[in-house]
């Protein structure tokens, strides 16, 4: 269930960043910063937000700027995983080119990400 919760968390946060960018007509990077600024400092919540943004932010921003939806983003950065023999879980309707094709494209975009490679090893 930890794996499922990480996936939900990623899809929620990515959706919010995407929508903040849409509403404020800003870049995904600015939207991510805006979100962390909203989070209270108490109990280190804001620190956690900045830490997560530091780790996942660059790839997340890159994918959002290629107009990938939250499901595709989260599968690409491996916070959502498809178990063998199980369906590919998604919240949003699949993109026009199809979920698998979008995912292949997204993986190509983040293929050289050192951060994601390090996370996978970790």
């Amino acid at each position: 269930s930890h794996q499922g919760l990480a996936c939900i968390g990623c899809v929620l946060v990515t959706s919010v960043i995407e929508q903040l960018a849409q509403l404020h007509n800003s870049t995904a990077k600015a939207a991510l910063e805006r979100l962390c600024n909203y989070i209270p400092e108490k109990l280190h919540f804001q620190d956690i937000c900045y830490l997560v943004a530091e780790i996942y932010g660059p790839e997340l921003v890159k994918l959002l700027e290629y107009k990938m939806n939250a499901d595709v983003v989260c599968h690409s950065i491996k916070l959502c995983k498809q178990d063998a023999g199980q369906p590919l879980c998604h919240l949003y309707p699949p993109p026009k080119l199809g979920l698998n094709a979008a995912l292949r494209k997204a993986r190509r975009i983040v293929r050289n990400s050192e951060v994601l490679k390090s996370i996978t090893v970790f």
């Binding site: 269930s1 849409q22 509403l23 979100l35 909203y38 919540f45 620190d47 830490l51």
Partner: protein, 419 residues
């Protein structure tokens, strides 16, 4: 769990784990299970302690020496009337059948709620997230606004109405005598463990009204083979009888137990499946049907049985819930206990929906918007009034008499030290 390995969070996580494991207030210096700290199972969950340096002073106990010198039961009434030398506690509370309210419940009883503003980009601001630390340290529950033990004005929409507030209004001597012993995921199977955090001495304390309120988790789980993991009627009987036997040996004589039946969760799908989730409102692209399917796919659905597009499964889940409610009904009808009498009521979903409709509301507003599963603040408050009215008309002996000294208590002690 990995977040808890971060150095700044290690100690905080350890504290939170302690609280979650034991379901007891973290900040409780005298160890009497009552606290002066609001969250981490503190006074949002049980009446606030009025002396953290003395374990014999806590809400719900019988007053020591009529509280001549200090308030030993934390109800805000103490001292001696200078006019006649009679202790106020004796004058205002003796013979008024003081009693407390104890909830044994699940996330609905603890009032699970995630503010929809947290995932609605159009409403986001600094102010919107100001409650995040409070919600986190209360396990995303809001017992302080709940239908059984709520006592603060709601800041999450709707209004607060609770069995405790009614009981307090009926007799101000009951001030602060409440315990919300609930847990997200609470069911007949795991409430037995949770009950060990009950704070009631069968000799020293006043009687209590215990409400058993596990309204869904016996049929709700997130497993793909959900039916196989539902509680059977036989298991339900055994779990609840074990729980009642525990209560019989811990509650003061003259207590009461009210068993609440399980909800018919088909209401969720019927009201929500084609509505937009807060995340989908901006672009009209996420409905609850999609959310339910996503949660099931990830195996983190709180209730595959009801949050499903499979009508046969939804009907089966309701059928099992009805069978389990019937077990509770039969126990209430046939079993006798030394310390308490026992009653049963169906979960009043239909009545809640009718009352809300009469007030001009719509049925979907009775469900938590973010999770699409729990009762909303409105449903919680309406449910409290319905439960109180039922008890008042059908079991008045449970509630005790109205205290004729209420206005005098108010005149002398005002808000009785608040909550």
């Amino acid at each position: 769990s990995s977040v808890c390995k971060l150095p700044p969070l290690v100690k905080l996580c350890e504290k939170i784990k302690y609280v979650i494991k034991n379901q007891l207030p973290f900040e409780d210096f005298d160890g009497d299970k009552f606290s002066v700290f609001p969250t981490l199972r503190g006074y949002h969950w049980r009446g606030r302690d009025c002396n953290e340096g003395n374990a014999t002073v806590y809400p719900g106990r019988r007053p020591h020496n009529w509280d001549v010198e200090s308030d030993t039961n934390c109800n805000g009434i103490w001292g001696v009337d200078p006019k006649d030398g009679i202790p106020y506690e004796h004058k205002f509370c003796k013979g008024t059948e003081s009693k407390g309210i104890i909830l044994l419940g699940d996330s609905a009883g603890a009032h699970f709620h995630i503010p929809p503003e947290w995932m609605t980009a159009a409403q986001m601001s600094l102010r919107v997230f100001s409650d995040l630390p409070l919600a986190f340290t209360n396990e995303f529950d809001w017992p302080q606004f709940s239908g059984i033990t709520g006592f603060l004005n709601s800041t999450i929409g709707g209004w607060t109405d609770s069995f405790y507030l009614y009981l307090r209004r009926r007799n101000l001597c009951n001030h602060r005598d409440f315990q919300n012993i609930s847990k997200n995921g609470g069911s007949s199977q795991n409430l037995l463990d949770l009950m060990k955090s009950l704070a009631r001495d069968h000799v020293l304390d006043n009687p209590a009204i215990v409400i058993y309120y596990a309204i869904g988790n016996d049929v709700c789980n997130g497993r793909p083979d959900t039916v196989a993991h539902m509680t059977t009627p036989k298991q339900m009987h055994s779990n609840v009888m074990e729980m009642l036997q525990y209560l019989d040996s811990h509650l003061p004589k003259g207590s009461h137990v009210i068993l609440t039946g399980l909800v018919d969760g088909r209401f969720l799908w019927d009201q929500l499946h084609n509505r937009y989730h807060p995340l989908g409102q901006l672009n009209k692209d996420v409905t609850y049907k999609q959310l339910y399917s996503f949660l099931s796919c990830l195996r983190v659905s709180p209730c595959i049985g009801w949050m499903s597009s499979n009508e046969t499964l939804r009907n089966f889940t309701s059928e099992r819930a009805l069978q389990l409610s019937n077990v509770l009904k039969e126990i209430a009808r046939s079993e006798k206990f030394a310390s308490f009498d026992i009653f049963y009521m169906d979960f009043p979903l239909k009545k809640i929906a009718e009352e809300w409709h009469n007030l001009g509301g719509e049925a979907w507003q009775l469900i938590e918007p973010v999770d699409g599963f729990h009762p909303s603040q409105i449903a919680t408050a309406l449910g409290a009034r319905i439960l109180w009215q039922k008890a008042l008309h059908e079991w008045p002996q449970v509630l005790g008499k109205e205290n004729p000294f209420n206005s005098q208590i108010e005149a002398v002690f005002r808000d009785q030290g608040g909550h």
